[in-house]
Structure formats: C-alpha cells, structure tokens
C-alpha cells in the first residue's frame, strides 16, 4: 500500500478503500513500527486505536466488534470482550487500562491513519 502525506503536518498511512470496509469492521495498519487498528464506525466516521490489547498484549483489536455503550462508541476485544472507548481509548471495565488513540480520516475514497493523537 501507499504512504501518503496530507496537508496536516504528520505522516498519514493509507489503510485501504472505504468501500472495502463494512460498517462496523476494522483493519490493521503498521504506522512507523506501531500497529494501529482502524474501524469504520458508521458511513462516514472512522476511528483508530492501538492494535494490541492492554489486557493480554495480543495483537487482535482490529478484529473487535464495534458497539455502543449507552451511545458511546466502543470496540470489544475478541478475546474477552472488554470494551475500549473509541474516542479516548479507556477500558470501560477496568479504570486505568487505556489504549493509545490515533487519527483516522477519509480522503478521496481512502481511509487514512495518522500517528498524531487526536486532539
């Protein structure tokens, strides 16, 4: 896949075509040696979090089910169904456990993931 640089001042990585990702599905990209899981939350919203779960360290988060907990978007780890908030990365079951969050945007039909933490 292609690495692309956008107008923002960080590296953006192409995570594939939007149309290849079902709503609720995720995929994984390597960004400067870091594994990032990126999800299509709805038609136009994309979220990115660290791929390794803090619970067991397994590189599985991109296979998570996307869900909402009282309206808040979460990703459920496929190993033990722990819920991680897709906006701030916190674990809903275990205060303190947190996933790194990243930026994800769409551009010309492609999903782009950036290392900079979302503001």
């Amino acid at each position: 896949m292609i690495e692309a640089t956008t107008s923002m001042n960080s590296t953006w990585v192409d995570a594939g075509a939007i149309d290849d990702l079902s709503i609720g599905a995720g995929t994984c990209v390597m960004v400067e040696g870091k594994q990032v899981a990126v999800f299509r939350v709805d038609q136009t919203t994309f979220r990115a979090i660290q791929n390794q779960c803090p619970h067991r360290g397994a590189a599985v988060m991109h296979q998570a089910i996307v869900a909402d907990r009282a309206g808040e978007p979460v990703a459920l780890c496929p190993l033990h169904k722990r819920a991680y908030h897709l906006v701030h990365g916190g674990c809903l079951e275990e205060p303190g456990a947190k996933l790194q969050v990243y930026s994800a945007v769409q551009d010309s039909g492609r999903i782009l993931v950036g290392l900079a933490d979302r503001a």
Binding site: M1, E3, V13, D14, A15, G16, D20, S22, I23, G24, A25, T27, C28, V29, M30, Q35, V41, D42, Q52, R56, G57, A58, A59, V60, Q63, A64, I65, V66, A67, D68, R69, A70, G71, P73, L76, P78, L79, K81
Partner: protein, 844 residues
C-alpha cells in the same frame, strides 16, 4: 424410656413421658426411602443440632421411586436422588446404606442390623415402606420373573428385557401400569393382566376405566381383564403365563406389580403394635404403641388406612418431625387424591369415586373421542363431595381436591365444578401442588416477592418439587399473575432491541430483512448495536437467508471466530478444524492433514469430537491452509460457528460384533444434512450402533441409539458445564423417519430458542419433553410441514464457507496482518514444547 404397651390407650401416657424428656439427642430413621428423606430434611430444618442416622437396606441414598420408570427413558439413578449427594454430609446426617435393621429393643431403643451393627438412639422412626406383593403362583422362581420396586429391580428388568420380545405385567392398577410403561419403553410387546374387570379399579369408576383402557390399547399395549393367573410356565426360564382357563400367554418375562404389602416385620419382631391385616398402628402424630418410636409412610396404619402415595407420606414425615422436636403438626388424615400420567394419559382420582346409592348424585362430562371423561359424586343430604374421576383433562383437580379437604358443600349448580373456565371467587384458594400441599395463595405471594419463573417459585414454595405433575399449573399461575400485575419479564436481547431472539427471528423472517441497519431501523432502539445483538442478527440472517455468512456487510456482525472462519486463540492466532464426518477418515486424508500441519508448523491435537484441531495459524495463513485442505476434499468443520459441530459415532454393525445398525452410515448422513446450519448455540450429535452406547448419544443435543427395529431418538442432552441426560423423543424410527423428526426438532429450536441457549436449557423453557413431543410429533401447532420445508431450504443452500471464501477476493483481502505491510505480525511469537509449537509466554 417407655415400656412396651399393647393396650389401645397408650397415647395420653406417651405424651406425659415425652414432656419429661423433650429434647431429642439422637434420632434413628429405619428405612431410607422417599418419606425417610423428607423426614430427615424436615427434622434438620426444625432442629439444626440433633444427631440423625438413617439406615436403609438398598445400596443407595433415598431416591424418587415414583419416577422409577424414567430410568427406562434415559435417566440415571443419580437423577432420581431425593437429596443431592453432598446434602447428608453438609447437614450432618449419617446415611448407612446396604444394611437392614432386623429388630429394635423397645426398652433401650437400640436397633440391630443384619450386619450385626448396634445403633442406639433416643428416638426411632420406622419408615420401612412396603414390599411388592408377590402372587403365590407356581413358577415365580424361574429366571425372567420380576417385581418392580427398586432401582435394582429396574436394572434386572432392563438387562433381561433387552433380549425379550414379549412381556407380561400382572396387575392393572397404578403400579402395574407404571411397570407396563417401563416395558413399553424397553421396546417389549406388553400385555397387562388384571384380575378385576377393569383397570385401576380402586381409583377409577367404570366409565373412567373404560376410557383409560381405550387410550392404553391405542398405544399398542394388550390388556386382559377379568383374568386369573395360574402359573408361570417355561423350561428353565419364563416362557409364558398360564391363565385359569388354561390358555397360555407367551412371554419372555413376567413382572408382578399387583399391589404392595407394608413392611412391618421390624415392628412385629420388636413388639410394636401392628394392625390385624398388617402395618404399624399410629396416632395423628405418627406415634406407635411404644414410646419413643414413630412410624411414617407406607408401613404406617392411620385410622385403619395405609396410604400408598407419596404425598400423605410426606405429611406423615412432617407430623413425626414436628412431634419429635416438641411442636405439633398432626397428620390431617388424607384425602386420596392421585394425579398422574399413565402412558401419556392424564388421570386423576379424588376420594371415593365408587360411592353409590339413593343418597348420591353425580355429574358427568364425557367426550370419549377427545379422550375426556370427568365425573364428580356428592352426597345429596349434606352436599359434601365424595369423589371425582378425571381422565384427559385434569383442570378441575386442584379445586376438587380442595373442596373435598375443606368439606364445604358443592355449589348449588354443581356444573360449576367441571365447567371451564372457572371464575376465581374471592375466597377460592385451591391446592396447586398436592405433594407439598401448596395453595395458590402461597405461589402468588412468592411471585409478588420476585419469583418470576418456575425455578424461583419451586425454591420459594417447594411447589412442584414432588411428583412434578403441577409444573404446568404453576407456570400458568406465574404467567397469569405477572400479566395481571403488568409485570413484563424482560426478554430484551440487549439495550438495542427490546425483543427476544425468537421474536427477532420472526421479525426478520416475515419482514424478509437481510441487513442489520434495516433491522435496527425498523425494530431497534437505535445506535451501533453491540456484541449481543450483532452476532444474533448475523446468526439469524445465516439461518434464514442463503448467501455467505461473511459476505460484505454481514462480516462485521460476526464475532472474530465467525468472521474469519476459524477459532481465535489467546495470542491472536487461529485454530483450524476440517470436517471429518462421523470421525471416519482415510489414511490418505490423514496424510493431507499431517502434511498441512507440518508445512505450517501447526500444533496438532485430537478433539473430543472425533476430529483434529490444528493450532497456531496466523490470520494471513488461513486461506493458504484452507486452499490445501479444500483441494484435498476437506470442508469447513464449523468449529467456529453456532452450528452442528460433530456427529460422534461408533463403527456399528459394520465392524462391531454387538452392533445392530449401521451407526457410522447414519452419522455420515446426519452430518451431511445438517452441516453448516446456524443455530442459537452449538449443536453436538452422536449415533450409537447398539444399547451399549459407545458414542455417548445420551449426552448430546441429538442422539440416536440403534435398536433391533431402528433408532431411538434422544434429544436435549448436554455434557460440559451443566450436564443433562438426553430424553427419549421417539422410538424405533427408520433412518428417514429419524431425519424428518430431527428436521422439525432443529428448526423448532432454531426458531424459538434464546441466544446462546443450548437445547438442554431450551427444553425446560418450552415446558419439557411432552410439550416438545406435541409440537414436533403430534403437530399441535400445525407447523411440521413448514419446519421441514424450512430445513430443506437451509440444507439445499449449503456451500462450504471456506470453498466460497477462497473464490472471493473481497473476502480474502481481509485475511492479512496489515493493510499496508505484507510481513507477518511481529507480536506473535512461538516457543516449542514436546515437539510442537505453542504461544510464547506459556513456558514459564
């Protein structure tokens, strides 16, 4: 302690003796049957400290003799235990089995067992029960003659009956018909021989008997009435029963079940007073003629009556326990009210149904073709109910037995007694559970206090913990009460759908919905969905509509296992299970598995379901592995899906010298038919080629066991977390018949079960095996044709998911570690153990 007295006025004396020494320190219970168990339970509740010892001659803890015939329908003796095995230790009750008390010293209250053991106590309770009456016929010593009372009797009958084509039951009463049911369940052609001119002469009137006779004959049982048995004939073993008129009914076995005799021999040997015709005389507190000795159950004679039913036995146990601790709950005497299911026919008898004469009036409702007969008899002079017979419809049972107990006059218009639906008067509070004496008001209280299902009501009230015949009445009461109170039992799947899985299934089916967004829009509460509703939707769509389970849009509904058609493991790798139908595999195919496992360095293990599991495959390796497996003719094993896993089988008649049918052949056909079909939870099947049951079919969702005539079909068994014995659904089916019953059973389950509910739990939800039988065998809902057609569609729609996935680039591109990097995921590391690769991090 009390001296031995033989006069008839011992009771006032005994009371004074007891008050002088009110605190019992050691209670010895002689006999370990149902009533003894109830006594121990009650006494322990009343007095947490008193030492309790129970001695019984049978080699096992007290069990539910009433349901003995269920041993023939697949239950094990431990299923029938009255109290769970640990109860005795936890409650400090010493249980001595396999020893019979032969005498009691009435002065010192010391008992002696047949093993010579001496047990001294300060209270003794005789609960010696009764013995089957053995008719004094020549030839009863021949092998093949049995009585029907204990688990051991059942085991003997079962092993003998396995090689018997025809059997005879002597006795057409309650116990005789129970024994006949047992023989029928064994697959033996059964004849019931009754001395009286009708069946259940004690409990039923003539018309009631006639209807019962008709229903039983319709089940294929021969009944010979007015028949006097003369001798059991046969060379070296039973070959038939000779009647008084000289005719011989041929049979390989004879079971006598013609009444019971109270076991009063210990009482006799010890000088405790017994009645003229046997049984131990007791007062309202179950005290015998000897101070410090009580008698309860079938061995007791209360006001000239021996009670052979369990409900009065329980009341006696409670009376004795209360008396012993110094409180009082006298035995009320008992209105003989019997409710039972005889070979599938509901029969109830209350009071004296044969009262006749000028002073009696009766009311009869008859619909012989519908199998219904109801009759009530009352005395004209005081309008007191005398008795009632109910066959086919037992609805009025509770009200009638309550009326008989209370002695209240029958209504001015007696038709109200039998006319459904009965309006509930403000004061009406009928007994719903006769065994435990639980009135409706008590059940309503429990419901109002939060017991909203049968299990909770059982726990709170003890209703339905005896014979179980009131289960439906209790469930009905719960439903009605909750509806009255406007309480909705929350069946919501999750925050996103206020429906049960079954309701969603119907909505999706009728609305032809194939898409989660539409399901949410039309029936959901909005939002993204969650880990509960999304896989349920994916599963329902897969059950209803063909198309790939992970086609674009549906993939994200599935959990990772379903989404990647493999089983995720702790380190994020997957395991692969190719289908090995019925566990049968050629050496060539085994070699393919070996080669693939070797090539990808997969940890290899034999599963519990006669297949092979290959562990440690990386996501991106799955299509490569499956390419090789599919090319060699393997299909997906669906180990990742809520679907049919395995059909375990033995080699059956092909190889086994005991096999009577081709179990492997049928297992192959079944696995072929149902593979890949999505259901509310996983399904495990098994087929055994003979009664030895090597495939363990009785622990499966669907199990088939070969008989001489075909297949016995067992359903709703489970191993695993909550083991449950499967129950017999149908007998002697051909392979084709079995398949169409399984079609209906599975489709009914798929349509109505809650999510992640195994068949073993679902069967309880839908009201048990009888209810299931009505739907899938009697077609009570008129849906059998539809169920079969729906199943047929699913079967026709089958395609190996891996084969299809390998041909679909859109699906294949999901199988990669990174969207932008072809290298394997560096976070996944392995080490070696015992020559195979395992996840790193396990080794310490």
């Amino acid at each position: 302690m009390g001296a031995h007295r033989t006069d008839n006025r011992w009771w006032p004396l005994m009371e004074s003796q007891l008050t002088s020494n009110p605190k019992p320190s050691h209670v010895l219970v002689v006999g370990a049957g149902m009533v003894a168990a109830r006594f121990c339970e009650t006494l322990r509740e009343l007095d947490p400290k008193v030492r309790i010892t129970v001695v019984g001659e049978e080699p096992r803890a007290p069990y539910d003799r009433v349901h003995l015939s269920e041993l023939f329908a697949g239950k094990s003796p431990s299923d029938l235990e009255m109290l769970p095995a640990p109860w005795y230790a936890e409650n400090d009750v010493e249980l001595i089995t396999g020893q019979r008390v032969v005498s009691v010293d009435t002065a010192s209250l010391e008992a002696t067992t047949d093993a010579g053991r001496k047990l001294s106590a300060d209270r003794i309770v005789l609960a010696t029960g009764s013995a089957p009456f053995v008719p004094p016929l020549p030839g009863i010593d021949k092998p093949g003659f049995f009585v029907y009372r204990t688990v051991e009797d059942v085991e003997k009958i079962r092993s003998w009956g396995a090689s018997c084509k025809q059997g005879i039951v002597i006795g057409g009463g309650l116990l005789g018909l129970e024994a006949a049911k047992a023989l029928v369940d064994l697959g033996v052609e059964t004849t019931v021989v009754e001395f009286a001119p009708r069946l259940m002469a004690r409990q039923l009137d003539e018309a009631g008997s006639r209807l019962l006779l008709k229903s039983i004959q319709a089940l294929g049982v021969n009944v010979v009435l007015d028949a006097r048995s003369q001798a059991i004939v046969g060379e070296g073993k039973v070959e038939g029963l000779q009647m008084a008129d000289g005719t011989v009914v041929p049979a390989g076995m004879v079971v006598a079940s013609a009444g019971i005799r109270p076991r009063d021999e210990v009482a006799r040997a010890s000088g405790v007073k017994v009645g003229e015709r046997g049984a131990i005389e007791v007062d309202d507190h179950m005290r015998t003629s000897v101070a410090g000795i009580w008698a309860i159950g079938e061995c007791a004679l209360h006001k000239g009556m021996v009670h052979g039913l369990v409900a009065p036995g329980y009341r006696m146990a409670e009376a004795a326990a209360h008396d012993i601790v110094g409180s009082s709950r006298p035995f009320p005497g008992f209105v003989a009210a019997t409710k039972l299911k005889l070979m599938g026919v509901d029969v109830a008898s209350i009071g004296d149904v044969n009262a006749a004469g000028d002073d009696f009036d009766d009311l009869v409702v008859k619909a012989p073709c519908a199998g219904i007969y109801q009759r009530v008899v009352w005395r004209i002079s005081d309008r007191k109910l005398q008795g009632a017979v109910l066959v086919g419809d037992l609805e009025p049972f509770g009200e009638l037995s309550a009326l008989l107990t209370s002695g209240d006059p029958v209504p001015a218009d007696p038709r109200a007694l039998l006319a459904p639906p009965r309006e509930e008067g403000a004061g009406a509070d009928p007994i719903v559970c006769n065994c435990e004496n639980v009135r409706r008001s008590k059940i309503l209280q429990a419901i109002d206090a939060g017991a909203t299902d049968l299990a909770a009501v059982k726990k709170a009230t003890k209703a339905c913990t005896g014979c179980g015949s009131c289960a439906q009445a209790v469930t009905g009461t719960i439903k009605k009460r909750l509806a009255e109170r406007g309480i909705q039992v929350d069946r919501s799947l999750c925050a996103h759908f206020s429906h049960s899985r079954a309701e969603l299934f119907d909505l999706a089916w009728k609305g032809k919905i194939q898409d989660f967004a539409i399901l949410m829009e039309r029936h959901g509460n909005g939002g993204l969905g969650c880990e509960v509703c999304k896989p349920v939707a994916g599963n329902i769509f897969a059950s209803l509509w063909s198309g790939h389970v992970i086609s674009h849009g549906r993939d994200a509904l599935q959990d990772s296992n379903d989404r990647f058609l493999a089983n995720i493991q702790k380190n994020g790798t997957y395991s692969v299970v190719p289908r090995i139908p019925a566990g049968e595999i050629t050496p060539q195919k085994l070699q393919v598995i070996a080669e693939v496992a070797g090539k990808f360095d997969l940890y290899t293990k034999i599963t519990g379901g006669q297949r092979i599991d290959l562990f440690g495959a990386r996501l991106e390796q799955l299509p490569l592995i499956w390419k090789e497996l599919v090319d060699a003719g393997f299909e997906s094993g669906h180990a990742y899906a809520k679907s049919v896993r395995t059909v375990k089988s033995c080699v059956g008649s092909t190889w086994c010298r005991f096999g009577v049918q081709d179990s492997t052949g049928l297992a192959l056909a079944i696995e072929e038919r149902y593979k890949g079909i999505r259901s509310p939870h996983k399904l495990k099947f098994a087929v055994s080629g003979c009664a030895r049951e090597c495939a363990e079919a009785q622990s499966k969702d669907v199990g088939l066991i070969a008989t001489e005539k075909g297949w016995n079909l067992f359903v709703c068994g489970n191993g695993g977390m909550k083991p449950r014995h499967a129950e017999l659904l149908a007998q002697d089916l051909s392979s084709a018949e079995a398949m169409s019953v399984i079609d209906r059973f599975l489709m009914h389950y798929i349509r109505t079960a809650d999510r992640l509910t195994r068949t073993s739990v679902w069967i309880e939800d839908i009201g048990g095996i009888e209810e299931l039988r009505k739907v899938v065998l009697d077609d009570s809902l008129g849906i059998c044709t539809q169920l079969e057609a729906q199943m047929d569609d699913l079967v026709k729609g089958f395609r190996c998911e891996w084969k299809v996935a390998l041909e679909d680039p859109k699906i294949l591109q999901r199988f990669r570690a990174f969207a932008n990097d072809e290298r394997p995921n560096p976070a996944i590391q392995f080490v070696r153990e015992r020559g195979q690769r395992i996840p790193a991090g396990n080794e310490q």
